[in-house]
């Protein structure tokens, strides 16, 4: 988990530095940060053994419908 957070911070920092240098719009920075955070949540859920399993959710919905 600590390793994951470390990599996350590193990735985010590097991405922000690069994007600052390229002078991108704030929209792009927001997209970058949001997607990375979604990824972090997914990874975190897997590492904590409580995966947010979309596949299972879809399967459950289909099961309950038919």
């Amino acid at each position: 988990m600590i390793g994951l957070l470390g990599i996350f911070t590193l990735f985010l920092a590097m991405g922000l530095v690069i994007m600052r240098r390229q002078r991108l719009l704030s929209k792009e920075i927001w997209a970058f940060v949001t997607i990375t955070c979604i990824g972090l949540v997914l990874w975190g859920s897997i590492i904590l053994q409580k995966p947010l399993d979309l596949n299972k959710a879809i399967a459950g919905i289909i099961e309950s419908m038919f």
Binding site: L24, A31, F32, G39, I46
Partner: protein, 364 residues
């Protein structure tokens, strides 16, 4: 969105690679165990279905020249409804990308590198494909032109060598074949891969000429190859064995003997399979990235593509094992794909007609 057009040949090759992609490592076992010696027929009718449904998509796209799937959705359904539909498609593309990534690592794990952790494969593949997605669809399609003829030759020439093992007995297994139950049982073959190609609606506007031939031709060509390769699998390995093996086509390569000193020939197939799958992954990755960019009007693809590695690499770990993956494909895939492949396109078409937004409507 890029504006440089794609040629028909580029479209043809990329569609072929996409359709063959993971299908030929994932499906043969399933179709053979469900349809026995008629497994190859399953792929034939799936291909007919794929071409039919592809014509529907092309028709919709022709109604809105120059617009991609996401743009059509927001034009026809309005900002919020259209945005929701687009978001669904984005999730689908990301999911497909994740499943394809997972298939790569499963395949490599089983066949060649059992000790390497799957995440390494995921990161390696996604890193390359994110780069390709940033570079654009032209780069990907050029790679597909380069890869397709080579894999075609490298697959079929050794395959024909194995015809020495052919046994017609394998086609005479006692089994009463009933068409409709078999279609119902193997419905996943309709969805995978022939409904995944809906993602190509993202780049339909880039193909200015001969879109029909390129897209439908590519689908049909790939479908025929799949059917033929399953036919070979049945003839060479037999129904009994191939329905018990994980990757029957790989096993055929493994059992090929050119001479006593050339062993491990199967690694060539593995690498070739990877080439095709990489094209598929890059394409679907590109579609996901462009869809996000178009929906939120973002200019820079890199800002979306690289963070997506996080999401996809995590999502790819969700299936605990290959059996769960196979069960998901068998039981839920078709139903899950139906709204994306048929439902939303029909909705778009009907709304186009009602609101008079189509090509015919505008002239009036």
């Amino acid at each position: 969105m890029e504006n440089k057009p794609l040629s028909a040949l580029q479209m043809f090759c990329i569609v072929t690679c996409f359709t063959v992609g993971t299908t030929f490592i994932m499906l043969p076992t399933a179709t053979i165990s469900d349809a026995k010696q008629f497994g190859w027929l399953v792929h034939v009718w799936s291909l007919v279905f794929g071409v039919a449904i592809g014509s529907l998509w092309i028709y919709i796209s022709k109604q809105h020249p120059g617009l991609s799937l996401v743009q059509i959705a927001s034009k026809v359904l309005g900002k919020y409804m259209g945005g929701f539909v687009s978001l669904c498609y984005i999730v689908l593309f990301v999911q497909i990308a994740a499943w394809v990534t997972r298939n790569i690592s499963d395949y490599m794990h089983v066949t060649m590198m059992p000790r390497t952790p799957p995440t390494i494969f995921h990161l390696m593949a996604l890193g390359v494909c994110a780069y390709a997605a940033v570079k654009g669809i032209r780069a990907i399609s050029l790679v597909s032109i380069f890869v397709m003829p080579y894999t075609f030759i490298a697959f079929w020439i050794p395959y024909t060598v194995m015809l020495t093992e052919w046994d017609w007995r394998n086609f005479h297994i006692p089994d009463d074949f009933r068409l409709w139950p078999t279609i119902a049982e193997t419905k996943y073959a309709l969805g995978f891969p022939f409904m995944e190609t809906i993602s190509f609606m993202m780049i339909f506007p880039l193909v200015r000429r001969k879109l029909n031939t390129a897209f439908l031709g590519g689908t049909a060509f790939a479908g025929l190859q799949l059917a033929l390769s399953v036919f070979f699998v049945i003839g060479i390995l037999g129904v009994y064995r191939s329905s018990h093996l994980l990757y029957p086509e790989y096993t055929i390569f493994r059992e090929m003997e050119f001479s006593n000193f050339m062993e491990h020939f199967e690694s060539i197939l593995s690498v070739n399979a990877l080439l095709l799958i990489f094209v598929k992954l890059s394409a679907v990755y590109y579609f996901a990235v462009t869809a996000i960019c178009q929906l939120f009007s973002i200019r820079n693809r890199a800002a979306v593509a690289y963070p997506l590695v996080w999401v996809i690499s995590a999502y790819a770990l969700l299936f605990p094992n290959i059996a769960e993956n196979a069960k998901w494909v068998r039981d839920y895939l078709f139903i899950y794909y139906t709204p994306f492949g048929i439902g939303f396109p029909l909705l778009l078409l009907i709304m186009t007609w009602i609101r008079g937004l189509g090509k015919e409507g505008r002239t009036a």
